[in-house]
């Protein structure tokens, strides 16, 4: 067992972990942060994407011990207790999620991309090439990210009726 100290979604946690424990299992089954999903555990699907010290990474390809001393952000951090973030609201408006299983990883990767400037359509599509979504056909996801890039206020304002 190894002791690690990680700041997860703003909270510092100190945990004893086995060196072989995957970061995804640490987040999901130790910390109960089940928003980070696991779709392949071999680095292809992107469902496990989290931010490690601000950079989008594959949680399934990291061990928990490798995050010692780091800052990890998961999908649970995006809105906190507040309203949906502009990106999340845009996903809802554009029906950019169906089963929602790929969504947390894509949201994290898109936040990461948007935090680095004003990505082009091609850059957004290129980023998405690292993520599998079997439900939506991707088109609405691209549209949602573009809307969050261009008009974050609009996305936030439009909550559905009913």
């Amino acid at each position: 067992m190894t002791e690690i100290t990680v700041t997860v979604n703003g909270q510092t946690v100190v945990e004893q972990v086995e060196p072989r424990l995957l970061l995804t299992d640490f987040l999901r089954h130790r910390l109960g942060l089940t928003g980070t999903h696991v779709g392949c555990e071999h680095g292809v699907c992107g469902a496990c994407t989290v931010r490690l010290d601000g950079v989008a990474v594959r949680g399934c390809c990291l061990l928990a011990v490798q995050t010692d001393g780091s800052v990890v952000e998961t999908v649970e951090s995006l809105a906190g207790d507040g309203p949906l973030s502009p990106l999340q609201a845009a996903f809802k408006r554009h029906h950019a999620l169906q089963c929602g299983f790929c969504t947390p990883g894509i949201l994290i990767a898109a936040e990461d991309l948007l935090s680095r400037g004003h990505p082009s359509h091609e850059a957004i599509v290129d980023m998405l090439s690292g993520h599998l979504c079997r439900c939506t056909g991707y088109t609405p996801i691209v549209a949602a990210i573009e809307e969050a890039r261009d008009a974050p206020a609009l996305a936030r304002a439009e909550e559905p009726a009913g």
Partner: protein
Amino acid sequence: MSATEPWVGRPLPRFEDDVLLRGEGRFLDDLSPVAHTCHAAVVRSQLAHAGIVVDVRAALAAPGVVGVLTGADVMALSRPFPAGIDSGTPQYATAIETVRYVGEPIAVVVARDRYLAEDAAELVDVDYDPLDAVLDPVAAAATAVHDRTFAYGDVTAAMAQADLVLRQTFHVPRFTCTPVECYAVVADWDATEGRLTTWANFQGPFTLHGVAAAALGLRGDRLRLLTPPDSGGSFGTKSSVFAYIVLMGLASRHLRVPVTWTEDRLEHLASSAAATGRTTEVEAGFTADGRLIAVRYDAIEDVGAYVRAPEPATLYRMHGSLTGAYTVPNVGVRNRVVLTNTQPSGLNRGFGGPQLYFGLERTMAIAAKRLGLDPAELARRNLIPADAMPYRTPSGALYDSGDYAACLDHALELADYAGLRTRVEKARADGRLAGIGIACIVEPSISNMGYITLAQTADERALTLPKSGNAEGASVSINPLGGITVRLATTPQGQGHRTVCAQVVADTLGCTPGEVTVMSEMDTASVPWTVASGSYSSRFSGVAVGAVQAAALKLRAKIDAIRAHAGDENLSLRRVAGMAHWNPEGRPAGEEPGLSAVAFWAPPTLDPPDDEDRIASSAAHGFIVDICAVEVERATGQVRVLDYVTVHDAGRLLNPLLADGQVMGGFAHGLAAALYERHVYDESGNLMTASLVDYLTPTAPDIPALRIGHLSSPSPVTALGAKGIGEGNTMSAPACVANAVADAIGRDDVELPLTPPRVWNLLDHGDGG
């Protein structure tokens, strides 16, 4: 929107979304529905066909191991899965002495956590005695385990009169829809009561609850199936979770601990449920002016190592639609099922549709070329006319509504067909390889539970209970405070059923959708369900919505009676609820107490097969016209889709936002089958596409823009006029893209998937090779 405009029909964003976007979804692996579960790891076959001897002693001695379930235990505790036909090769939840495909379960190791279980699984020693593997379904046709021939009209006579007879063999390879979430099961055996409770990201109960209960030797009420609120996609694939419900149920029973298992991706690719592979020789007779007068199919269906329920359903799901969208008076089919040493087949989006339409629509394209007709013109000459609706096909389907010619016109206009032709001609003039493809297909939805009995002869059927219909149940309840709760039996995996049901109930009860809570979790102990319940054959918008609306209408009648009795027709729902719950003695005469309604609904047109083997295999029939243009890169064989148009008539759209989501999702699966996906086994039966690095699923850059058009011919056989819409493009896109590629490169023998090396090999490289 005006306040009185119905909620149904509006593009309402989903109630499902908020929790999913916040990472608060509740997928099974997120939950611990029972305390102190132990974790399972499955030991799987490394060979395609072999005798096995299994030694678990080292595994039992490993740290944290609770126990191991072996084939001998499975044999002692359970029975083979019942199937639609007797193939002579019974399937248990694990292999028994012989493995028949790579990835087949051999044993289950249960330990305190997943890491320890996987450690111990590696210590299970399997001694293999290799046997020959059968991998070529066509070569194995002589040993088919099912062989039935059907004829409607006089195919032979019509073929003899035809001016043009085409005969070509088409092959649809095995692919799998690969939901991003893999299978998950929690099983909890109650030894005292002899009862198994399981949670799974299943999409039944469907007929498969009964199959699982039979394998477990349990009475139906002793197998309780529950599903979590969220499921990470299925597209049919998760129906086969039932086999693991049985396997983990046996492990829990044998080892006397609750067991949890979450499949990993390698297991999923090797051993979940790939679609069937089908090789079909199509013979088609045309008159000189382009009338299709006869078609005959000779189909060889590869279902993998076992005939696993609901197979051989893939062969029969489309039986009523063998003639597609065309008025063909004479049609025949021979259906053979063969076993190969590959993973067993199961539901995958489109289920039988891609297999049928690839042959039929490729044939139409080839015929157009031979007859010197534009493919759109050939289609037009054969499409079922609008005034023939409702139309009975020779093999028994009742096409409920549609104006196919209008859809074709709309698609041609949306595609700017003449402009597209000009564009392609110009590209060709520049020496490039460009082409156009069209596919016109009928998208059936709401399967007749009786179609599978076509696997038996009429005489055999006469000895058993007739099977027919497709019924669904639902309940709507109003609690003492006026809160409305709906329970659904369709076990969705992302289709937005909860939102649509809230719209339907809001219209019926006169409230807003936001005031309606819809629970889509299945619990076979408490949700009103039937043998048809679950998600498959795009049945939600037709059947489940019918049940929900029927329950809401019952409740509405009661609410109105209470209001009338109270002399105030504007009495609030909350007040009505308070009266119904708190003062049942004051209720109107003749009314039951309580404020809850259960209803079942079924479309009226799904009879059992008749003595001539005609079957109304589905209730509703949408129509799709796809048009696409492609360019093939000469140097690499790479196919690039330049434009893709799809026009749907799915009747009334209950929520257009969600309908388009289904179209885009179905298109992505169809395009994947056209250009990317297939399972590959080597000559020894090893799975070459065993990881997501090798099984190539398209990502965002691979999916071209899709332009969608809608026409609406409401269905007269569904409650709200809706038809299924989620599977159609998986049926049309492979054929449409293949037609375009064939047109571009001038070859008839294009095969799926149209990967660069395969297309490149078909090109004329000008070197005589």
